[in-house]
């Protein structure tokens, strides 16, 4: 009996520990192609549904650029992002991100989510962001080499 409890704890506990700072890789081809055209396709778990809804309703001015899509593609991408948002997906890290956001806030930038800010504060010096190899806080892969496939555990 005790053996089974230990086994259950191991099976249940191990994946949660391994999942720390890892997110499920994106599986939708349209998301990978269209979101990934200008920046890394960010895992939808980083933001809540309400943020993605706002994002996908405002593509004609997407952080200062027109990122409009044909309507069918836009709907497909919006559905995937909302279905995998941090407040509905099972991702542990995603839940931490969303939990750090005030309920009346719908952030558009992952880099303004309190959990993101907290994880980078003190670890990354301010001048690193303007390094030509980094250029933007949106450029996760400049430091997290596996970010594209959901791996952020390398810091």
């Amino acid at each position: 009996m005790r053996k089974w409890i230990i086994l259950a704890v191991l099976l249940g506990g191990a994946p949660a520990a391994l999942a720390d700072e890892r997110l499920p890789p994106i599986t939708n081809e349209a998301v990978k192609k269209e979101c990934g055209a200008c920046h890394m396709a960010f895992q939808p778990q980083f933001l809540p549904q309400r943020s993605w809804r706002k994002m996908m309703d405002g593509l004609s001015d997407h952080f200062g650029e027109d990122a409009s899509l044909p309507e069918a593609t836009r709907l497909e991408i919006a559905a995937y992002l909302e279905a995998n948002a941090g407040d509905v997906s099972g991702s542990r890290e995603g839940r931490k991100f969303v939990k750090s956001i005030a309920a009346d806030q719908s952030p558009m930038r992952i880099t303004e989510v309190p959990r993101w800010v907290g994880e980078h504060r003190g670890e990354v010096r301010e001048s690193a962001w303007s390094d030509p190899r980094v250029r933007s806080k949106a450029n996760c892969v400049a430091c997290h080499r596996g970010a594209d496939s959901g791996w952020y555990d390398d810091d």
Partner: protein, 139 residues
């Protein structure tokens, strides 16, 4: 004199070879823009790489403030990779360096649609699109 003549002749041969090969996807896209340009202006004389270069390099008012020029993201050398404001590399836009450029009509429409709006604050005309592609085909 003879040299000049030969050079001009060679250019003509190359140009007609280019025109004769109107069966590539890029030529089909250009042909479509040409017919749009001609229906807007029956006297339209043809696309110009020079005008395309001016459009590409120019600083434009009227668009979004972060993207005053095509070169903001594509860089000044079309043969080189560009970089988005988010830091991601962009394939070169010169056809010689990226042979797949301007071969998929849906992608061409999507990117002119977005980027003309971002840089110019309006849609591009068929003449502008044709000029731009013509310039990039020579790069």
């Amino acid at each position: 004199m003879t040299k000049t003549f030969l050079a001009a002749f060679a250019v003509c041969v190359l140009l007609s070879a280019g025109l004769a090969a109107a069966d590539t996807p890029r030529d089909a896209i250009l042909t479509e823009f040409l017919s749009q340009a001609k229906s807007a202006d029956p006297g339209f004389a043809g696309f110009s790489a020079t005008r395309g270069e001016t459009l590409f390099r120019g600083n434009h008012a009227g668009g979004k403030p972060d993207t005053p020029s095509c070169t903001t993201c594509h860089g000044a050398a079309p043969q080189d990779k560009g970089r988005t404001r988010a830091g991601k590399e962009i394939d070169p836009i010169a056809v010689s360096a990226a042979p797949k450029r301007f071969t998929d009509p849906a992608e061409v429409e999507k990117w002119f649609g977005r980027n003309c709006n971002s840089v110019l604050g309006r849609e591009c005309s068929a003449v502008e699109k044709g000029d731009f592609i013509t310039f990039m085909m020579g790069q």
